[in-house]
């Protein structure tokens, strides 16, 4: 087999055009996952047995099934039962399922962050007369955020990678784009190598940025 250099190079501009869309999917999914995770954490620590039980089942399901199954159930399975779900677009399904898939992990990360603030500091907060609101704003949330930041960063990277599975339901993100480029010229090998390199560079850059932010916000540790 011959490696078509010219075609290989020509893939990059077309793929790079899709990078913002992939990042957008990942960012929206991350924000949704964060809000879901927060909500899940509140449910899971609820005193109401039923609420707690449902949150437990949710976490268990999303943790113990492959992501692609979750996507297929959501996108192909549920619309057969619920009519209104037929109008859910591929990209919406992708974002929602990626968010749900990561929300259990994020809930745990949030819990870990909140628990990282020792009791002594909370008592000191009480002793100087802080209100509950001020205690969270000044002491607990800033420290929880720093403690959770590295895990949240990893979750974000996982979510970006999960967007690639969008090609299975026709969302035209990076990987679908590569598949289409390959299909139109029957140079799949070149197209997939190119998309691999694009993912790699993008994720390495994100990883670097996250590490830089981490050293910045962790300055007090």
């Amino acid at each position: 087999m011959r490696f078509d250099n010219e075609f290989f190079v020509s893939c990059f501009p077309k793929l790079i055009l899709k990078v913002p869309y992939t990042l957008w999917l990942g960012i929206i999914a991350f924000l949704a996952a964060f809000i879901l995770g927060l909500f899940l954490e509140i449910c899971y620590t609820s005193k109401n047995r039923i609420v707690k039980g449902l949150a437990g089942i949710y976490i268990s399901y999303f943790r113990s099934t492959p992501y692609i199954t979750q996507l297929f159930i959501f996108y192909f399975g549920l619309p057969q039962v619920f009519d209104f779900m037929k109008s859910v677009t591929g990209s919406a399904a992708l974002i929602i399922t990626i968010a749900m898939n990561s929300s259990a992990f994020i809930a745990e990360t949030i819990r870990g962050g909140l628990l990282s603030v020792d009791r002594g500091q909370k008592e000191a907060g009480l002793s100087i007369g802080l209100s509950t609101f001020a205690m969270y704003k000044e002491i607990i949330l800033p420290q929880a955020f720093v403690a959770a930041f590295p895990s949240l960063g990893n979750a974000f990277i996982t979510m970006i990678k999960n967007t690639a599975i969008g090609f299975t339901i026709g969302v035209v993100e990076l990987l679908s784009q590569a598949k289409m480029l390959g299909g139109s010229s029957l140079n799949f090998f070149e197209a997939y190598i190119a998309v691999g390199i694009v993912y790699w560079v993008v994720l390495v850059v994100i990883d670097r940025l996250l590490k830089m932010m981490e050293t910045k916000i962790c300055k007090y540790l």
């Binding site: 002594g120 500091q121 008592e123 000191a124 907060g125 009480l126 002793s127 100087i128 007369g129 802080l130 209100s131 001020a134 000044e138 002491i139 800033p142 420290q143 720093v146 300055k219 007090y220 540790l221």
Partner: protein, 244 residues
């Protein structure tokens, strides 16, 4: 200035405070001594409402609460009359030295930033930390962290400062510096001070009055001379003998 009546506190089945009655005047310095696990910390923590007593009344500077029927608002009001210096310092890790000391003034007293900073620097000067104002606690020694703890407790502008074994976690060479700061504060007789300590010479030096706590009550109290030279109770005598 401060009055405690019939204070009770239990943890589950463990009845730790069994009716404490206590009062102190403005500026009075009271040392609290006694064996470990007898409720000395719990007593201070109940005054500061870090622990919630089941029963008893507390009055500081005219603010009065009854443990059995008090609202969150009353608790905060009385809490603001006292502040605490902890055995483990408990400084806020995400704040610099200066921010630690400014926090009570900014977040509780709603003072403006300029004034709070000026006051905070004044307190930091008193505890000898002017060269560390912009450091984070992780970069400080235990002794320096405890200085922050003391400056922060002063920043609350409390009527009563509660010291819970302020030197017990410190390396031996750092103890004297902290004791010296507390000694100076005590000499001002501005604020009432309750100090739980195992430093008997220090207690004898600075206290106007010494309490001996044992078995969940104040077993004996009096001037330092009386407690250290001629204690009435056998238990007090035995405790002091053990330390020698």
């Amino acid at each position: 200035m401060i009055r405690v009546e019939n204070l009770h506190k239990s943890f589950g089945d463990l009845h730790v405070l069994k009716g404490i009655d206590f009062a102190a005047k403005k500026g009075e310095v009271v040392a609290i001594i006694g064996p470990s696990g007898m409720g000395k910390s719990t007593f201070l923590r109940c005054i500061n409402f870090i622990e919630r007593p089941e029963k008893g009344r507390l009055e500081i500077d005219g603010v009065r609460v009854d443990a059995e029927s008090c609202k969150e608002k009353e608790i905060r009001a009385v809490r603001m009359k006292s502040s605490m210096v902890f055995q483990n310092y408990n400084v806020f890790k995400n704040k610099t030295v200066l921010q630690n000391v400014m926090l009570p003034m900014l977040s509780v007293q709603n003072m403006d930033k300029q004034a709070a900073q000026e006051r905070a620097l004044g307190y930091l000067e008193q505890v000898g930390l002017m060269d560390k104002t912009n450091e984070y606690p992780s970069r400080l020694s235990g002794g320096q962290q405890q200085r922050v703890g003391i400056a922060r407790a002063m920043a609350v502008n409390p009527k009563v400062i509660l010291f819970d074994e302020p030197t017990s976690s410190l390396d031996p060479e750092l103890v004297a510096g902290i004791l010296e700061i507390i000694r100076r504060l005590a000499k001002e007789h501005e604020r009432t001070m309750l100090i739980v300590t195992h430093e008997m010479r220090f207690a004898r030096d600075i206290a106007d009055r010494v309490l001996f706590m044992d078995g969940g009550v104040i077993l004996e109290e009096g001037t330092p001379e009386k407690i250290f030279s001629g204690p009435e109770h056998e238990r007090t005598k035995r405790f002091l003998d053990q330390l020698k």
